[in-house]
């Protein structure tokens, strides 16, 4: 792993990070090793986020830096990256709500933490969640919604998953979502931010002790 690269990502030095990546690749460092450094850096940023030391700008910025690095690394990859994924998650913003920023951040953090995420986008009807769970065999569903109008669609989606007999755990989150709405929707858990989503997903897949 490259400490220099890790430091550049953590400190949000985008140009440096890309330059270091280029130097590493030129110097013959294996693409997978570079990706490992990225993951390590993201672990740190995730911890900082949980500790209230990093915020949305850092999550979005590190996402951009990582996108830049993977673009450079991809062209050198001989074998496909076959990282063992921790578990499958289906996620989307519920029907009627078209907000995607927070959901995208959650998707990014889950992905970087090793989950295989199927992102259904925004304004997703309950039936689409059901279908995606059936197709992917995911055991975790994430429902996002920014506005109060998301309350009922969330409730409907949880009900649809249940009545389809699917054995899934459902996490919900968003601007006006809280524990009271978790109760109302009968979701398994409410997560306050992207890292809470990661923690929940890890708990549910047995990666963390609950």
């Amino acid at each position: 792993m490259s400490e220099k690269l890790i430091a550049a990502i953590i400190e949000m030095r985008e140009e440096d990070a890309l330059k270091i990546t280029d130097e590493l690749l030129e110097g013959g460092t294996a693409p997978l090793e570079i990706l490992d450094s990225c993951r390590k850096a993201m672990d740190v940023i995730g911890e900082q986020f949980e500790a209230g030391e990093s915020f949305i700008p850092e999550l979005i910025m590190s996402g951009e830096i990582l996108a830049g690095i993977s673009e450079m690394v991809k062209s050198r990859m001989t074998e496909g990256v076959d990282v063992a994924k921790l578990g499958k998650i289906v996620i989307g913003t519920v029907e009627g709500d078209i907000h995607d920023i927070a959901k995208d951040i959650v998707v990014f953090m889950l992905d970087i933490n090793g989950f295989e995420v199927t992102d259904l986008g925004v304004d997703v009807p309950p039936a689409e969640f059901v279908q995606a769970v059936k197709q992917t065999g995911a055991k975790i569903v994430g429902l996002s919604g920014f506005l109060t109008l998301a309350y009922d669609p969330m409730k409907d989606t949880v009900a649809a998953l249940n009545s389809a007999g699917l054995d899934v755990k459902v996490m919900i989150g968003g601007g006006q979502i809280n524990e009271q709405i978790r109760e109302y929707t009968d979701a398994t858990a409410y997560g306050k931010d992207a890292m809470a989503a990661v923690t929940l997903a890890k708990e549910w897949t047995g990666e963390l002790d609950a």
């Binding site: 910025m61 078209i98 506005l147 601007g175 709405i181």
Partner: protein, 488 residues
């Protein structure tokens, strides 16, 4: 209420039927607008305090306003006095209550969210019914929007229900932002140099697709000789600029038609039930102006790292216009309260240092500019603002000149840190309105009032727009100030 020594007011005259007003509009007759109280003679030289007192007097005055009866006029004035008591940090007779809603009004009368955009008279009717049934102390929003005009100008930065567009939301879904980067980062210099010119020529054409012609508007700076005056006039005479201006003229009547029922309804709410509307204008914090519909959330968050200096310069650059838009509106309406919904500076969106560097300085300047104009800014912090309270508390601004609204902020701490300088309000959760029990609502309001009301400087309000609630829930909410908010 005991009979006071006769309150002066104008006896309400019947409003002409809407159909007649619409016909007048179609015929091109300009509708008479009410004559406001004249501004102080030396307005531009008046001090902030003089302006403040003028606005207060205008708002409290019943003499120039129509009321159904002396009793209604008294009710109106009593409510506003109570309001000013809390704003100016005195204990009133009772904690005032306000309501914040948009879509609920339609729903309550069985109408849809699309009706806000395409059937304004339904919304006006619904607004009257809501105020009749609930008798709130303060008028809540009665506005409807010109959906057909939005269609005609090709508005891109929002999506709304109803209408012919392929991206229309379903009939009963409320309007939402369509997040996008409507201003690329490469435009920062243009914006910084000339914010209004940039908006008009570059940003309007992007968010209002069918006003693309505005791109070709020339600079206003040349007309100094016959030749340059002719050239300037010529650039409006033909081509894309004229198409855009033609379209703006074409939709003007439709716009008035769409908002008129709401305006008439709010007048009636004041006339008939004495429920005042105090807001004269609305503006947004500079960082949000850039972040909401120009750079987009992702764009502006990246700018903190990629273009920090330009972002800061742009925030500064939009301050004057962001003040002017509110001052103009509030002055025209003689209503000094200016609502400022706050979005992207909340806890979690950025660190305290980032807030102090990127969000607060230009926002502070804006607030001070509004106070300087004799107005009362009412920022409403969506999400939570716990990590911002110290910064707000450490601000040298005269007491009682700004009113702070909160959503999920800890109100006990807010009261402790801000209560000596500012009236605060808000915090009754939208989730409680939507899914709580009546008892939970009653207890929540009781606790909140007990925490925040001592010494004055507090009014009851929801923490977010209330779109879902049973009528019983709303009654419980409104009644709580009468049960728990009476000062002895």
């Amino acid at each position: 209420m005991p009979n006071q020594t006769e309150i002066k007011f104008k006896k309400a005259s019947p409003t002409p039927p809407l159909g007649l007003l619409k016909l007048m509009l179609k015929m091109g007759v300009k509708l008479p607008s009410p004559t406001p109280i004249p501004l102080l003679k030396n307005w531009s030289e008046s001090t902030p305090d003089e302006k403040y007192e003028f606005f207060k007097k205008s708002l409290l005055s019943t003499e120039d306003k129509e009321f159904a009866s002396a009793e209604t006029a008294e009710t109106y004035q009593r409510r506003l006095k109570r309001w000013y008591d809390v704003v100016e940090l005195r204990e009133p007779d009772r904690v005032p209550s306000t309501m914040l809603m948009e879509g609920y009004i339609a729903k309550y009368s069985g109408f849809t969210q699309a009706d806000y955009f395409y059937h304004p008279e339904r919304i006006a009717k619904a607004a009257l019914k809501f105020h009749q049934d609930f008798q709130p102390e303060h008028a809540t929003i009665t506005l409807s929007y010109p959906g057909e005009v939005f269609d005609l100008i090709g508005m891109k930065m929002m999506r709304w229900p109803g209408g012919p567009r392929p991206d229309a939301l379903p009939e009963d879904t409320q309007w939402q932002y369509a997040e996008g980067e409507y201003m690329p980062a490469s435009d920062y210099d243009d914006l910084i140099q000339n914010p209004e010119g940039y908006l008009f020529r570059k940003w309007y054409p992007r968010v209002f697709e069918n006003l693309k012609g505005l791109e070709t508007l020339p600079s206003f700076f040349t007309p100094m000789e016959p030749a340059t005056v002719s050239l300037l006039l010529l650039s409006y005479a033909g081509g894309p600029a004229r198409d855009a201006i033609d379209l703006l003229l074409k939709v003007a009547g439709k716009t008035i038609e769409a908002v008129l029922p709401g305006i008439l309804a709010s007048k009636k709410i004041q006339t008939k039930w004495g429920a005042p509307g105090v807001y004269g204008g609305i503006t947004y914090a500079p960082f949000d102006i850039l972040g909401d519909t120009m750079r987009g959330t992702k764009g502006i968050m990246l700018d903190i790292y990629r273009h920090p200096d330009k972002l800061l310069a742009a925030c500064e650059a939009v301050v004057p216009a962001s003040i002017k838009v509110a001052v103009d509106a509030a002055t025209a309406r003689r209503k000094p309260f200016v609502l400022i919904p706050l979005h992207k500076g909340a806890d979690g969106f950025m660190s305290e240092e980032q807030f102090a560097k990127f969000y607060w300085p230009s926002f502070k300047k804006q607030l001070e500019g509004l106070v300087e104009a004799g107005l009362i800014p009412v920022p409403f912090a969506e999400g939570s603002y716990n990590q911002r309270l110290d910064i707000l508390a450490d601000w040298d601004i005269p007491k009682g000149k700004v009113v702070w609204g909160f959503d999920q902020t800890d109100m006990k701490v807010a009261k402790e840190k801000l209560g000596n300088n500012f009236c605060i309000y808000g915090n009754v959760p939208a989730s409680l309105f939507a899914t709580g029990t009546l008892d939970e609502m009653d207890t929540y309001c009781k606790d909140l009032i007990e925490t925040c009301a001592p010494g004055g400087g507090f009014y009851l309000a929801p923490g977010a727009v209330v779109d879902f609630a049973t009528p019983e829930m709303l009654h419980t909410y409104f009644n709580s100030t009468k049960k728990y908010g009476v000062y002895s």
